[in-house]
Symmetry: C2
Subunit: 325 residues, 2 copies
């Protein structure tokens, strides 16, 4: 808990330690997070996604420069899917960010999925909450968008930017309508390359067809490596933030996000504790029957759902098991 | 429930309907599945994964021919990640399978992720269970391995085959040790192409380095389109199945799988019902506080975990809400 107070006071090492606790599912996490969460923040949470090689990291790098010029503190969470077939290029990309390494107004952290059971979405939400409590003005969540996990993660953003390059034509065709559902802003990066205008028109057509209301996704061209178009992107993000606060969309998003987070924490904790063999008494017997195949998982789940009191022995948050009920 | 009896009696349309119920999270699913699950099966569950373009569908097609010659009934579940950035080539691939379309010993079904909240892993387990109950001897689960979701899915297989092509060198380099953890059998498909022997040696070296015990992953070359090497693969799968039944590894896998399934059903149902606004009374008030930000999600989750009786009003499985507690 001391750690949380240090984080709230601006201690970056305490923040980093807490994130490590999140990654390792430290047993004291619930208490620590409960304390951290009681200090909300007003950060603008920006999601950036797109296929590998779209130049997302460079774009985030340049956006960060702009935000820093505005005097804003920036927290960056890079999601590395560590997926066997998608590659793990993010670490290399991050090295390019090192120009911000000595700037204590910028905090960068990678989160990986290795070993987690669908827990990445929750872990990301938790890290974003911490950064928010720690007083960052802008929080950027960058993912390589290759799967459902990454899309789920984008749900936590206030504003989502989807980045393409001129070569992404097939990807756009494959996604079609799905794209306009998640993107608030489209970016054609590396737009000095051949095919950029074709990609731009393709996205423009798609946006027109989708006819999204009340917010029509913005479409921008950038050359992040040359810092071209990045200030327009920063401006479009500010516009979207204003739109969110002026309409009820922003509030709806936050409400939905709060609910998802509650469900993920609740069900994640139940799952973790069953997996950790914290179950005792009736629940432990039921679980053994499930494992051995004597009871089928559905019947066992129904048994617990009809009598959730069975879950009670899972939760001895002081670290000791309950010795009676 | 009638539907389940028809499925158990071999009615393929009833099976297809039940799978649709799984995809749409039909409200009667718990009761239907509980009934279906009480009829276990002894199928060999085979997972096939690998990067897009590795020829997995053709390989599955040819494997299916071999299994059919052995008189075995084959159920195939193709997982289509429907992921924005990975493409949806599976449907086209499936058309090639149409030679089995008139064979009632083969059942093929695609499962997509669109709209599901991390529920694909559970849905796949449920479909595999159904196919098992319906008496299929071989169940093949084919995924395009691009994310954590797909790897989680592979956990349900008794035997996992990872398929590469000569061009997959970078992918193998990126994954390294992770690969030997999931693969029981490696296949270099399209091995008549240039670079096949380099890929083969690379995988061979990786397998030797990993020094996995007690099962050393097998390494095979195939040209699925010409049916070359496929009978060796079918044989290696039979070997691995024997290994599983002779060691305690198979039993351990099943026990772990049963537990994961129980956790996914339990926590999935809790999440679904909270999302569906089934909560009443105390829980409904708590949820409103979470949504509005008056209570933070962690504190709310802890409140429920400490007093799981709060969950009781979520579960009125006869479709009616509980009117008292």
């Amino acid at each position: 808990v001391d750690l949380v107070e240090r984080m709230l006071a601006g201690d970056v090492r305490a923040l980093a330690r807490l994130i490590t606790y999140i990654e390792s599912r430290h047993p004291e996490l619930p208490q620590l997070m409960e304390k951290a969460y009681s200090h909300g923040g007003e950060a603008h949470i920006i999601g950036i996604t797109g296929p590998p090689g779209a130049g997302k990291s460079t774009l985030v790098d340049k956006m960060t420069m702009h935000f820093r010029e505005q005097g804003k503190r920036v927290g960056i969470v890079a999601i590395d899917p560590s997926s066997p077939f998608s590659g793990g290029a993010l670490l290399g990309d991050r090295i390019r960010m090192s120009q911000h390494a000595s700037d204590d107004g910028v905090f960068i952290r990678s989160l990986g999925t290795r070993g987690s059971h669908g827990g990445l979405s929750l872990a990301t939400r938790e890290v974003v909450r911490l950064l928010n409590s720690a007083g960052f003005d802008i929080i950027v969540v960058e993912t390589v968008g290759v799967g459902q996990t990454e899309l789920d993660i984008m749900e936590l953003a206030d504003s989502t930017v989807v980045v393409f390059v001129p070569e992404s034509g097939d990807t756009v065709q494959t996604m079609k309508a799905g794209l306009t559902e998640i993107a608030d802003i489209f970016v054609v990066n590396k737009s000095d390359r051949e095919g950029a205008s074709i990609m731009y028109r393709e996205l423009q057509l798609m946006i027109e067809m989708a006819n999204a209301k009340p917010w029509t996704p913005r479409l921008l061209s950038t050359v992040a490596s040359k810092n071209e178009g990045v200030s327009d992107l920063v401006e479009a993000l500010a516009e979207h933030q204003s739109f969110l606060s002026e309409s009820d969309i922003g509030q709806k998003k936050r409400r939905a996000g709060n609910l998802v987070e509650f469900i993920e924490i609740l069900t994640g904790e139940i799952g973790d504790r069953i997996r950790d063999e914290s179950a005792q008494d009736g629940l432990a017997e039921l679980i053994e029957q499930v494992k051995s195949g004597k009871t089928n998982p559905y019947l066992a789940a129904l048994t617990v759902l009809r009598d959730p009191v069975l879950l009670r022995d899972l939760f001895a948050f002081d670290g000791k098991k309950k010795d009676s009920d």
